[in-house]
Symmetry: C2
Subunit: 217 residues, 2 copies
């Protein structure tokens, strides 16, 4: 596991973000359309070829392997490949988390057809996926890094697809352990709650880069 340093300016980050956000959003739209389309077989095959052509053009120059988590010289994080918050990852909704002064991390987001499990509802595992990220960000809100030891997710009732909210906060510290609690809610209240135990590594002795959990910058 290694973090990568890229010595680029804030302006360059903004330029790349403005370039990649619309591309990734376009791919998100395509994922949704692939699930919901009812066009005829010939059109499906044509579109498949269009996608293969688009992919070939992107692959004309590409990095080996995964994106990683990159930092600028002033330690601004660019976790753009991250499966939950990645600006360049079309699997990510993406969550855009907000850190509040009291340590609460919160996010409002909308989940569509691509996140379905039971009919019309969010896949239980997707709820766990998102909570892992939100709890992890809350765990590092005090600047001490933490890796996830365990996370327990309780399903109160099905979570409908649509507009949702999630939040988490550290509720207890025990030596190198931090206990974090969080939830997902719809307009009628909580649907899923979670508790995570995060561990601060023994080797940690000082300040860390912002957003070691990869919060969007």
């Amino acid at each position: 596991m290694e973090f990568t340093l890229e010595d680029i300016s804030d302006a360059e980050i903004a330029r790349r973000r403005a370039l990649f956000e619309p591309l990734t959003d376009a791919v998100r739209g395509l994922i949704d359309a692939t699930i919901r389309t009812e066009v005829d077989d010939d059109t499906i095959r044509d579109v498949q070829q269009m996608i293969a052509d688009a992919t070939d053009r992107l692959r004309a120059a590409q990095i080996d392997g995964a994106y990683g988590v990159r930092y600028t010289a002033d330690m601004q994080g660019m976790p753009w490949g991250n499966a939950v918050i990645g600006v360049r990852n079309a699997i990510a909704p993406p969550l855009r988390t907000v850190r509040h002064p009291d340590g609460l991390v919160s996010t409002d987001f909308v989940l569509g057809a691509a996140y379905e499990g039971p009919p019309g509802c969010v896949h239980g595992g997707v709820a766990a996926l998102l909570l892992d990220q939100v709890l992890g960000e809350a765990a590092s809100a005090d600047q001490a890094p933490g890796y996830t030891g365990t996370i327990s997710v309780r399903y109160l009732r099905p979570t409908p697809l649509g507009a949702l909210h999630s939040e988490a906060i550290i509720v207890e510290r025990q030596g190198r352990k931090k206990i974090v609690r969080g939830s997902i809610s719809d307009a009628d209240g909580q649907t899923v709650t979670a508790e995570g135990v995060f561990i601060v590594p023994k080797t940690w002795e000082g300040p860390m880069p912002h957003s070691t959990r990869g919060a969007p910058s």
Copy 2:
């Protein structure tokens, strides 16, 4: 939450699968390329337009909302929008699970750049996402449906991106509760373990459709 009946033949299912699997695989390739590309800005903008055009063609006719879980008249499941196993969902790796005679559910799969959290490693939440599905399928391997009450995930060490294995099995029954245990492993052994408590609804009184958890047919 409703299940949908579609009275189609096995041959028609096979035809649709042969049509949609390559389309969805093409979209998976595009997701990967969007994360890893290093082409110039003009190419990015061209490709964005290509994707928008492809999406428009698919959206010329589409269902309202999410895909749902559909069943044929003989109760064969088509959870093709499912976020973990969906044939038409490019977010899904997809997992292809195998049910063994002893009730074990197992799957071998490969995770690439789109499933990253820490650099080079599987996002902890992605591990939870996949385990929720695998444990859920194991929970319904005895034909009694179960909904997830809680799931607890323990991270033993980082899970590298690449070839992985997951499995789960019912380990205990207590009245309407079923306890299921499972894990994810790489070539060196387990990286993540999970335990889930699944509840059989009070209203359940008889046989269920195959794969209420949406196992691929």
